[in-house]
């Protein structure tokens, strides 16, 4: 009670943020939760929301497109999450070396992440053009006839995975800062003990940056499951639904078919999936994430 005045002004200070959270995050979330048990086509307004219980969920589990989108998303996440982490970490280590003009390289690798995804997508559509694109031209120099990347159901998903490597700049920057936080004396000590490059990487670098890996992994998983923009712009889920990502299917249900209830149910299922995998990583982290100053561990 004695702190009530300062408490009140404290709440006052966070009020703008709190209002934003309630109005634009929690409110809509609650609304979509209600919608996921209802049928609603939006056009006829809020009065036409009709309670249908578990119907949406029952229908979803008999929906071929749901399984297709789940398959696409899982394949993408399974391949892209580890791939992007490895590529980003490797690049970050190269960028961490002391050499002239390193700032230029860092800039170059980070730049793609600043470009809006739609602009990036438009550029890659041209790169992937089977006839005139840079990629197939380059392959042509080696006598390889490149496929129709985005128009062939066997290659489209792979093309998107490859394209994603180009914009891992954010992850690189975070790894880079993690790497720079590793004390030089640890490497020195390891060298004196006779550790080679590989040994130093495994025994010094990896444990020391494990909190960074942990963070990037969680963000990577969330990003992987929520993949949308590039597929929306470049393939619209085609050809033959081979790039029908979960979020894209959800979007189509909501804003093409105007089945808001169904789409809300889909979004809550995605929420649970992401929550599950994130928790899995968080729970497992006690086994492999090392925090400096955490004395109880060895």
């Amino acid at each position: 009670m004695r702190n009530s005045k300062s408490e009140r002004s404290g709440y006052l200070f966070i009020l703008p943020w709190l209002l934003g959270l309630v109005l634009f995050t929690l409110g809509p979330m609650l609304f979509s939760l209600i919608l996921s048990f209802s049928k609603w086509d939006i056009i006829t307004g809020i009065k036409s929301i009709e309670w249908v219980g578990l119907d949406n969920f029952k229908q979803i589990f008999h929906d071929d497109m749901f399984y297709q989108s789940l398959k696409v998303t899982f394949i993408f996440a399974l391949v892209s999450v580890p791939l992007y982490q490895i590529v980003a970490l490797f690049t970050a280590m190269l960028l961490n070396m002391r050499s002239r003009g390193m700032h230029v390289f860092r800039l170059v690798y980070f730049m793609p992440s600043v470009i809006p995804a739609v602009a990036t997508s438009m550029m890659w559509i041209m790169i992937f053009n089977p006839e005139y694109g840079v990629l197939n031209r380059a392959l042509g120099w080696f006598g390889i006839q490149g496929p129709a990347w985005l128009q062939d159901p066997h290659y489209a998903l792979g093309a998107l995975v490859v394209m994603g490597i180009w914009s891992v700049g954010n992850t690189i920057i975070i790894y880079l800062s993690g790497l720079q936080g590793v004390p030089e004396d640890l490497y020195e000590a390891a060298s004196l003990d006779g550790a080679g490059i590989f040994r130093r990487f495994v025994s010094v670098t990896l444990p020391m940056i494990s909190p960074t890996i942990f963070f990037n992994l969680v963000m990577g998983i969330i990003g992987g499951f929520q993949y949308f923009t590039e597929a929306f712009v470049m393939t619209s889920g085609g050809p033959l639904n081979s790039t029908l990502f979960y979020n894209l299917y959800l979007y189509n249900k909501a804003f093409k078919d105007y089945e808001m209830g169904y789409a809300s149910a889909l979004s809550w299922i995605l929420f649970i999936i992401i929550l599950f995998f994130t928790l899995l990583v968080v729970r497992s982290s006690s086994m492999w994430v090392y925090y400096q100053g955490d004395e109880e561990r060895d």
């Binding site: 309630v22 086509d41 939006i42 056009i43 307004g45 053009n129 006839e131 985005l150 033959l240 105007y258």
Partner: protein, 429 residues
Amino acid sequence: MKKWSTSLVMVMIAALILSACSSGGSSSSGGGSGEKVKLTFSVWGDVNAAADEVKLTEEFNKAHPNIEVKFEPIPSDGYGTKLTASLAAGQAPDVFLVGEGDYYKFVDKGVVEPLDDYLKKDTSFKLDIFQKDLIENMNIKGKQYYLPKDFNPLALWYNKRMFDEAKMEYPNDNWTWSDLTAAAKKLTKQEGGKFTQFGFNAGKWEYPIYTYLWDYGTDIANEDGTAAEGYMNGDKTVAAIEKYVAWSNGPDRVSPTPTDTQTMGGDSSMFMTDKLAMMVTGRWIKGDLDKSDVKYGSALIPKSEDGTRSSIIASAGWAVNAAGKHKQEAYELVKWLSGTEAQKLRSSNGAVLPATVKELDEVKAKEVNDKPVIEMMNFAKKPVTMRSGNGPIFVEQFTGALEKIMLNQSTVKEALDEAAKNVDSKIKK
């Protein structure tokens, strides 16, 4: 902590109630005695593209001192989403534009006001000034829901330079689909194993495919759009689609595959750069073609060997918002925007064809290029989206099957069988 979470829930509930309250009723307000009635109306496209609408608005406001109309165009890309959202929120304009593919859907949802009662009371305005087929398209389940802004019948467009180069005669009124195939074969060229030009575009777009199916006496749906079995996968449909996809399949193809089209930058840019000789599309294509130096002409879409010929009239219709507060005034506005003066204004620079009989006849008499296009109106039929609220289900399954067929993932029969089965199971729900 507990108290705090209670208040949070209260705030959330309040937010929900508030958002619920704001729905219902339209954005227009006022209308009391002596006060001006305020109306808004929307079209797709930007202000520049809709200069005629701006002018019509000004003139309407001058002629109706008790009404104040505000024109709010919406960018084409977001039109559907924005309109739907504003209808949901009860903030939709009093008058808005609907494309022919959505006529049935909006009526089905009950958001469009039938105009029959207003028309009956109004002795100064008769529907017979409009093209019969066009106005008929805007009549859903026996009621007149829309009045025309503009329209575009599908026709055959051909690249004159490519025909001249091959020393061939332009397509004429007697062409059958076999004549088109023969010509397309001659106009398709390869160099070093790569196609450099194509004779005809047999693409994925369903409208030209419908006309082809109708010519061969079949359709993807029954008349009232309730069944696909025996229609979408009927023997006649399967045979016709087999012929249709053969145009764009294999090393002897005369049409680009969907992949070819994407690679070469899309059908209209292929047409403009003399890489595509013929295509079936709407008159809106003129807008693009006139910007390039391509020499083009239009002709009737070929008929089948038994003389059947078909087309579709794509159109845009004005609708009165059923939830609007001032529907009588909104009707006046719709009448103004679709009437003779509006048709004259919009068609004065040749950008669109007038929807009124008299004015259209005048255009027909002097515009050589538009003559076949106008004539195609006589062969117009309604695609399934204009016959039934189930339309989108048919289209989704049919185009999905076509994609499979064109990518050689399935035979025509198998893909259409599956599509028909899916449609029927979705309709039953």
